[in-house]
């Protein structure tokens, strides 16, 4: 069962006790991510020193998948170089959308607990939102949206 493997203990734990949750006292970079389909939003504060992520924090309203993804992301990218962070953003996005072959070398480590979202198209955006928002913050863009036209996951879901 794909779903069961997605809601595994590590994800539930990060949802219950999100790491680096809150705001930074002094942030050099900041971005807000929106998923207008469900109204979820996520704020990310960054403190960059030179080419490294010195500090990172997040807060917002979101589902368990999104919150756990954000929490684990902060623990992984903290202390990383900007280039490494961008590489992880790309690899995570490719994993979530099913274009990354996990059999080949990658740098995702325990982030592979999110691999199951590739089979749940409506939940891919939940997992990716924190990474999009991080990308926006790193590039000094103040907002990110899962529905932005340049978003590779842009595919509005209808309603009734």
């Amino acid at each position: 069962m794909i779903t069961k493997s997605l809601y595994q203990e590590v994800i539930l734990d990060h949802n219950r006790k999100p790491r680096n949750y809150g705001k930074l006292d002094k942030a050099s970079h900041h971005a807000v991510g929106h998923n207008p389909l469900c109204g979820d939003h996520l704020d990310i504060d960054l403190n960059l020193e030179g080419e490294h992520i010195e500090g990172i924090a997040f807060h917002g309203e979101s589902c368990a998948i999104c919150k756990a993804s954000a929490s684990m992301m902060t623990t992984v990218v903290k202390g990383k170089s900007l280039a490494d962070a961008e590489m992880l953003i790309k690899e995570f996005r490719d994993m979530a959308t099913g274009t990354l072959d996990l059999a080949h070398p990658h740098h995702l480590g325990r982030l592979t607990v999110f691999a199951g979202v590739r089979d749940l198209p409506t939940r891919v955006k939940c997992a990716i939102l924190p990474w999009h928002t991080l990308h926006a913050a790193l590039n000094s863009v103040s907002t990110a949206s899962t529905e932005a036209e340049d978003d590779p996951m842009h595919a509005p879901i209808g309603d009734a």
Partner: protein, 419 residues
């Protein structure tokens, strides 16, 4: 004329035999994630009985051609079947004449037709349109577009915490600038049944026409447009066991005749020269181009099917499902029902404490239970009730009490995972 398809067994008793009904729906035999499908997303779209599927197959295999054109056998057959479907819909909603029943692509298309055909001709600068907080985006956005174009103003009827319209406030909104009222018969997100008959009477006493969005009512209760007195009534085929891509706009003949066409093209004209075009009579004036003929005939078969089950029996049975599901749900700590109107259809929107609706929906799917999560195209309702999103279970007459139990057990499973 034969209205009821002879292949269906008449069910004259008022009680509904759900086992018998379920056997009519092949999709209900599906397994999802290894579990029997429990389909509780009927407010989004309902499932199709074999009788309707068979009717579509019969049309495509032996009756299809373009309508209103050929003198050949198939064209005449398709035209006759298409017009027969219109009459089935006429009887289903008790319209006075068949020319008051216009085939559209769905409720959204029907409302846009009224906005363009009536609104753009008769609503001007400074005029006011009354809508309600409960409206689906499809009965808000067209009127906003009109208001922007004309310099008109939209007034909104508020709701209480239970999700019921405040009728006193509705009445206070009327003034000499009020030119139109748009109101949904039943709320898609909350299930509230609005007192549209009384609201229409109040508007008519002030000479204001009323459009009723009946998308969530037509499948679940007897709709009589003459008894309601509405000027327009819009609904969709796919929410009432019919195909997608087909819907109905009922309009009073005298209003439809005064309206301008919505779309221009073939079939909606009597004569065309480059100097002048003469429009066809209603309903053809509003059915430009080749319509979804098969879907219209399929919708005709769907209302035959609903009538054979009995619309009053459907309403009574779904009421029992709602009562049972509501009672079971109230027993679960940490679950809050959103939308507690005194008069409701079988729709349950709810929140599970500390669990996001998307997680609820994904985990219920693991139990085979299909529900809807999100804002349900009613962001003003979500804003008013201060919920970002809800999970919604919406029932149909083919759901069972045992399925309610599976659904309730599923919610408890979700809660256990998130403890």
């Amino acid at each position: 004329m034969k209205i009821i398809d002879s292949t269906l067994q008449p069910r004259i008793d008022s009680t509904l035999d759900v086992a018998h009904v379920r056997a009519d729906f092949p999709i209900l035999k599906l397994q999802i994630e290894g579990k029997p499908l429990v389909y509780l997303d009927n407010a989004a779209s309902s499932q199709m009985p074999q009788a309707v599927i068979d009717r579509l197959v019969r049309y495509q295999t032996s009756q299809h051609a373009n309508i209103n054109r050929g003198v050949h056998y198939l064209s005449e057959t398709a035209t006759a079947e298409y017009e027969a479907a219109r009459r089935k819909l006429q009887y289903f909603i008790n319209a006075r004449e068949d020319r008051e029943v216009i085939f559209t692509s769905g409720t959204t298309d029907s409302i846009n037709l009224v906005m363009h055909g009536y609104g753009r001709k008769f609503i001007g600068a400074g005029d006011e349109i009354i809508l309600t907080t409960l409206e689906h985006h499809s009965n808000i956005v067209p009127w906003q577009m009109l208001a922007e174009e004309k310099g008109a103003r939209i007034r909104v009827v508020p709701i209480n915490d239970a999700g019921e319209l405040l009728i006193d406030e509705y009445e206070k909104l009327f003034n000499e600038r009020t030119k139109f009222v748009g109101v949904m018969h039943v709320s898609n997100a909350l299930g509230t049944i609005n007192p549209v008959r009384e609201m229409i009477a109040f508007a008519h006493a002030r000479g204001v026409p009323v459009l009723v969005d009946g998308a969530q009512a037509a499948p679940h209760m007897k709709v009589d447009v003459q008894d309601l007195g509405c000027d327009f009534y819009a609904f969709s085929g796919h929410k009432m066991c019919g195909p997608t891509g087909i819907g109905i706009l009922y309009g009073k003949a005298e209003l439809l005749e005064r309206m301008q066409p919505f779309k221009g093209g073939g079939d909606m004209i009597l004569s065309v020269t480059f100097e002048r075009t003469t429009y066809n009579s209603i309903p053809h004036k509003f059915e430009a181009g080749t319509p979804p003929i098969a879907a219209a005939i399929g919708l005709g078969a769907a209302v035959d099917y609903l009538s054979s089950v009995g619309i009053d029996a459907i309403a009574a049975y779904e009421g029992e499902l709602l009562n049972y599901a509501t009672e079971r749900m109230r027993q679960i700590p940490g679950v809050r029902i959103i939308g507690t109107a005194a008069k409701k259809t079988a729709v349950l929107s709810f929140e599970v404490a500390d669990v996001h609706p998307h997680d609820v929906g994904t985990l219920l799917n693991q139990e085979g239970v299909a529900v809807r999560t999100g804002h349900h195209c009613v962001q003003p309702v979500m804003l008013r009730l201060k919920v970002p999103a809800t999970t919604r279970a919406s029932f149909a007459f083919y759901n069972t009490m045992a399925e309610v139990d599976t659904f309730i057990a599923g919610i408890r499973t979700v809660q256990k995972i998130f403890i």
